[in-house]
Amino acid sequence: MINFKNEFLGTWTLLKKELLRFWRVVFQTVAAPVITAVLYLLIFSHVLADHVKVYDNVEYTAFLIPGLIMMSLLQNSFANSSSSLIQSKVMGNIVFILLTPITYLQFFLAFLIASIVRGIFVGVCIYVFALFYVDLPMLHPWIIFGFAMIGGALLGTFGIITGIWAHRFDQMAVFQNFVIMPLSFLSGVFYSIHSLPPFWQKLSQLNPFFYMIDGFRYGFFGQSDVAPLLSFSIVTFFFIVLAFITLGMLKSGYKLRS
């Protein structure tokens, strides 16, 4: 018989632990990425403001901000679940969760939500900083929220997969440096993909990060390279696929239960 109080409390406890974990090292998990993003903002807007024109009525600095927010959100959602898992695995304290009646679904939800929260929190901090710097419209807040949620969810899920798969910190770093970084930099954070040569445009269209950033930006300016509904559907599709893979891994105990 399912005892809902037990199930809820179990999930909530694991979520709370995951949130507290990153909050305890908030300088590393929030302050650092926010500062990085603000530096990008200051430097790129200063250097490129007069050279790049993307949308007619949007100045470059403003154009840049949603991209930077989304990029940081995605990177931090990924970092939260992946680094928590690899750390618990290397330290061995993952057993404290594995020994409990927590189900694979509860496990997934707790890590997923914690990732989304960290990503969005970092994003909001960057947004607040940016407000000092430039006037930023916000035409469709719900679209912004929707993309932030699905983007954080997608990368949080991807982080769970890599966290379970990796044995060591350096394997984790490979993902961080050779997958997450290139995908986020080649996604149109700093430019519109329409300014790219055709080959690179086509390539960008295969990058899920591009749709997340493009759709997120639409929420601010009402302008985008791709229709936001299409972007949202593509990202949701990716999320569902990865969520199924993750749940399958967790259910079978892949690399967690020998």
Partner: protein
Amino acid sequence: MKKAIVFNKVKKNFGKLEALKGIDLVIEEGEFFALLGPNGAGKSTLINILAGLAKPSSGSIKVMGYDVIQDYQNARRSLGVVPQELVFDPFFNVREMLRFQAGYFGKGRENDDWIDEVIEGLDLQEKANTNMRMLSGGMKRRALIAQALVHKPPVIVLDEPTAGVDVELRNKLWQFIKKLNQSGHTIVLTTHYLEEAETLCSRVAMMDQGKVVALDKTRNLLKRFSAKNLNLRLDLKRKKIPVNIQKFIQSTDHNFITFLLEEIAEVEFIMGELKKSKIKILDMELTNSDLENVFLKLTGSKR
């Protein structure tokens, strides 16, 4: 009496290696049970399968009547496991860890009194608000035991609980565990210290190479294996050890020969035979047989 744990033909293969070759074992409720064996005997593998950290290749385990796979939630609620390694979460202090651990089992604030009791019982009061990272090895061990107890499991499994723990703490831990046993908890521990099992446990299973090689009351087992070692350095010089004492030989290393004796009277016999064959004894020593020898005896293998 209810059965606390039932192992039914549990097998586990790692590739070609048969780590467990079909374990059948029943542990009754309220027992203080020891699982003994040398490193690599399969004790930890068996515990891991019991705890759900590993999956059996075949066979099944029930804890308090709940199957550890089909009914894993109830099985895990009935089980408190103290892992062998000193693992800890570096982000939190002792009390936070205990609260989280209880929360995973669906226990909320109402459980805080019990957590206090566990902290007190293990003498952790002064360290309750200290980060896990800052604790000494012995304190970490206590915190680990506390973590296994937060959900009041009827069955408690301790995997090598006293490995690397100093004598004073060891005694304290055993007192605490004894008290748990007296209040009705079933205790299962793995160890390779025979003395610990001897003083604490009512029943012992010995494992070797993935099998249970002996299962008996501790008393009986000790009686059966109260053996002695006779270590001799002999001046052999191309002479051979007499055939009728060769069966006592446990190991040979050049001139050093260890005989395994069941009775002290056998010393006389061996000495006599050596004298008859005119083999000179250069040095001799009589020691109590250790666990290793008991195993050698049990498995009949010469290592």
